[in-house]
């Protein structure tokens, strides 16, 4: 906030140059960036969903999808087509406008959050100076859509699901933000690209060993990961959906394309949160700490990488994202569901104090060194 006041208008503008900024016109980069964000938004969650199907299948002695496309890769596309064909049911007692808008309200923030996340050297739509703040703010709007859906369905199970989701997201927003602040403190910037650069330059106290933030902030990473799971209502924190208790929570009354939008929100949320964790803690698109990508030696090993380096960077980033998604799937397979009050107790009595402790440690270390 201080930055905003002192430096005037500039913080709203882009910082680093994106490789999508081609030509002198306004419209071409804009269209390119839109295509980039939408492409990421619609493709990567599908890959994550396919990974979930297959990984769950293998862990549960089944094969997962095999029929649609080679090795079942097109299963989610087939599902999407099926959802579009389905009748769009709205319960007669529902608050129709709110009911219809809710999936959109949940979906759009997940898309907006992708705007500022760097997927490779120069591969991002926008580098806001307030990037981290923007991502957290945008992704927290999703809960509104969930609450709207739960309330407007005129179904008691939906209502319970919506209210549980509301309570859960409020409780876990705090440790999530506190953990993220610690990263911002250590990096000295809120720009996501800046955080990746800072990780490339971070040396372990006086030595020449380059480390990503996951090592000094292991506690913060753990808190962020658990809080992100709760924020996404992923098992073992899926009480808002709780299919054995609440039928399907806030999604009970949804069908067809609206239901598909909620599902897409969940998977896009997984991808966004994983991408954020990669950027904040796992060194973004760098392959190994301290080792620049091939062709990137010029600009500190992070930018102007040429075609090979850029593609490799994007691949590394996506690989790390899918790795985190896989861990989320793994947890889903392995654990039963917690109870809502147990979840709240963990949030307020364990996660928030630990996050504050982490923040204090990082701040002290930052000042001392």
């Amino acid at each position: 906030m201080m930055l905003l006041v002192t430096s005037g208008v500039a913080p709203y503008l882009a910082q680093a140059e994106s490789i999508l900024d081609v030509g002198d016109t306004f419209i071409v980069p804009l269209l390119l960036k839109l295509a980039f964000v939408l492409g990421i938004f619609f493709v990567v969650p599908l890959v994550a969903g396919y990974l979930e199907h297959k990984a769950m299948g293998r862990m549960q002695h089944r094969r997962g999808p095999v029929e649609a496309g080679p090795f079942g890769t097109l299963q989610l596309v087939a599902d999407g087509i099926k959802f579009i064909q389905k009748e769009d049911l709205i319960p007669s007692a529902a608050d129709k406008w709110v009911f219809a808008m809710a999936p959109g309200v949940a979906l759009v923030p997940a898309m907006l959050a992708l705007l500022v996340i760097p997927f490779g050297p120069g591969v991002f739509a926008l580098d806001l100076e307030l990037g981290l703040f923007y991502v957290l703010a945008a992704s927290s709007v999703s809960v509104l859509g969930v609450l709207m859906g739960g309330w407007s369905s005129a179904n008691k199970f939906s209502l319970f699901g919506g209210l549980r989701a509301g309570g859960q997201l409020i409780a876990y927003e705090l440790p999530l933000i506190l953990a993220a602040i610690a990263v911002a403190v250590q990096a000295g910037t809120l720009s996501l690209v800046g955080i990746v650069e800072a990780q490339a330059e971070f040396m372990l106290f006086g030595t020449g060993i380059n480390l990503w933030y996951v090592i000094p902030q292991l506690l913060g990473f753990g808190i962020f990961f658990v809080a992100a799971l709760a924020e996404l209502s992923r098992p073992p924190f899926d009480m808002p959906i709780g299919d054995s208790e609440l039928v399907f929570g806030y999604m009970t009354e949804y069908s067809g394309i609206k239901y598909a939008m909620y599902m897409l929100t969940e998977y896009a949320g997984m991808v966004t949160m994983s991408a954020l964790m990669v950027v904040l803690y796992l060194g973004g698109w760098q392959l190994l700490p301290g080792v620049p990508l091939p062709g990137c030696e010029a600009a500190g090993g992070l930018f102007d990488c040429g075609v090979t380096g850029t593609l490799l960077g994007v691949g590394v980033m996506l690989g790390k994202i899918l790795l985190l998604v896989f861990v989320m799937v793994w947890l889903r397979v392995a654990y039963p569901r917690l109870r809502e009050d147990q979840l709240q107790r963990i949030a307020w009595l364990v996660m928030v104090p630990l996050a504050l402790l982490n923040l204090a440690l990082v701040t002290i270390a930052k000042v001392v060194y």
Partner: protein
């Protein structure tokens, strides 16, 4: 409050949309009404068409009222119009997960009434298959209980084992769910060649996979958090409600007709009865899981005991039980199964009264759920193991 009052209150209170009402009272303060939530008859946690109406204060259950009867199929009445050989095809359907045990109970009742002596081999084989049926049943509940707590994987593991066992039983009986293998005076047909070797093999296979359940489910911290101290059932309450089976054993009482009133040849082998301490959901699951191990121990013992000989005895052309009545109780997988069989000397039973374990066990649900949260209510509902067909008959 009489039953009638309860009924009227429940009918009035569950009209859709009526009870979310928040009314503005005269002095400008909000007055909130209790919400009543109807879980079932079609709900993922009720595995069947069981219905339970919860009066809620927030997420806390004030009162739980089970509503049964959605699956009433009139087996007791139908049995009065089938002869003694035909009722086997009826009884293995009321609890579809314990088909063999139900047949066994009927066979014992009819044979007791007719004072029929059954060949030893048939008795041992009956025990063997009854124990396999028990393992099948318990595996199902272990999977479904974990599923109710949100863990999806144990269900698939349980079905992997169930498939092996069902394959084994299919080789002997030809059925996977409704075996119809018993008949008055013995068994329909002898075991196929090599059955015992395969049975030994499956037994050791299932035993080697049991640690999966002990580690992944029983040892899981979240599982502990969700079940320990949830829905404790004191022994006296359990006894006064007629609760039996693992739900009763979890309260610490080692009551099991296989031990306390041995039928067939159970007196000749060792039967261990696992018991719990507090009677909570964790103990109920603990007993259920250990009963699988006990059943596998019994199966291994039976393998060494099966004598050669006939498996059935010659029956008269028309099976008629003499006039009179008898009661047989056996340990069904879910608890105590009793058949009261009354005959007027004709070809069909005059009355066949079933005392089913699920029916008595669900009576404990209102007691257990009072004052609990909704997630705990689901945890309790799953831990009082029942089959809806067995409640409603």
């Amino acid at each position: 409050m009489s039953d009638l009052d309860l009924r009227q209150e429940f009918l009035a209170g569950t009209a859709p949309g009526e009870d979310i009402a928040v009314q503005l009272s005269g002095d400008g303060q909000f007055r909130t009404a209790d919400m009543s939530l109807s879980i079932g008859p079609a709900h993922p946690a009720t595995h069947g068409v069981f219905r339970i109406v919860l009066d809620l204060d927030g997420e806390r259950v004030r009162e739980a009222r089970p509503v049964i009867g959605y699956m009433h199929r009139g087996f007791e009445k139908l049995a009065e119009h089938r002869d003694f050989r035909q009722i086997f095809a009826l009884v293995n359907r009321h609890d579809w997960l314990s088909g063999f045990s139900n047949e066994l109970g009927t066979a014992l009742a009819v044979e007791k009434l007719m004072e029929f002596e059954v060949p030893d081999r048939a008795q041992w084989i009956r025990m063997l298959l009854a124990e396999w049926n028990r393992v099948l049943n318990h595996l199902m509940f272990i999977g479904s209980y974990a599923l109710e707590l949100g863990a999806i994987t144990p269900m698939f593991y349980a079905f992997r084992e169930r498939e092996d066992i069902q394959h084994l039983l299919e080789s002997a009986t030809g059925g996977r769910l409704h075996f119809t293998y018993n008949q008055v005076g013995g068994l329909k047909i002898d075991l196929p060649k090599g059955f015992l070797a395969e049975s030994t093999q499956v037994s050791s296979l299932v035993r080697s996979r049991l640690p999966d359940y002990f580690d992944l489910v029983l040892g899981n911290e979240i599982f502990h958090g969700r079940t320990k101290g949830v829905g404790p059932l004191p022994m006296e309450v359990a006894l006064s409600l007629g609760v039996s089976g693992p739900t009763l054993q979890a309260t610490g009482l080692p009551e099991d007709p296989r031990v306390t009133e041995p039928y067939l040849k159970y007196g000749e082998i060792d039967v261990e009865v696992p018991v719990g301490e507090n009677g909570d959901a964790f103990d109920r699951f603990y007993c259920l899981l250990h009963r699988i191990r006990v059943s596998l121990d019994i199966i291994d013992q039976i393998h060494d005991h099966i004598p050669p000989g006939p498996v059935n005895s010659k029956l008269p052309k028309m099976v008629k039980a003499p006039e009179g009545a008898t009661y047989v109780r056996i340990e069904n997988p879910l608890g105590q199964l009793g058949y009261w069989l009354e005959s007027d000397g004709g070809r069909t039973p005059w009355r066949l009264k079933m005392r089913t374990p699920s029916f008595s066990n669900v009576q404990a649900i209102p007691y257990l759920m009072r004052g609990q949260l909704i997630p705990d209510a689901v945890s309790i509902l799953g831990s009082v193991f029942f089959v809806v067909g067995d409640i409603d008959r």
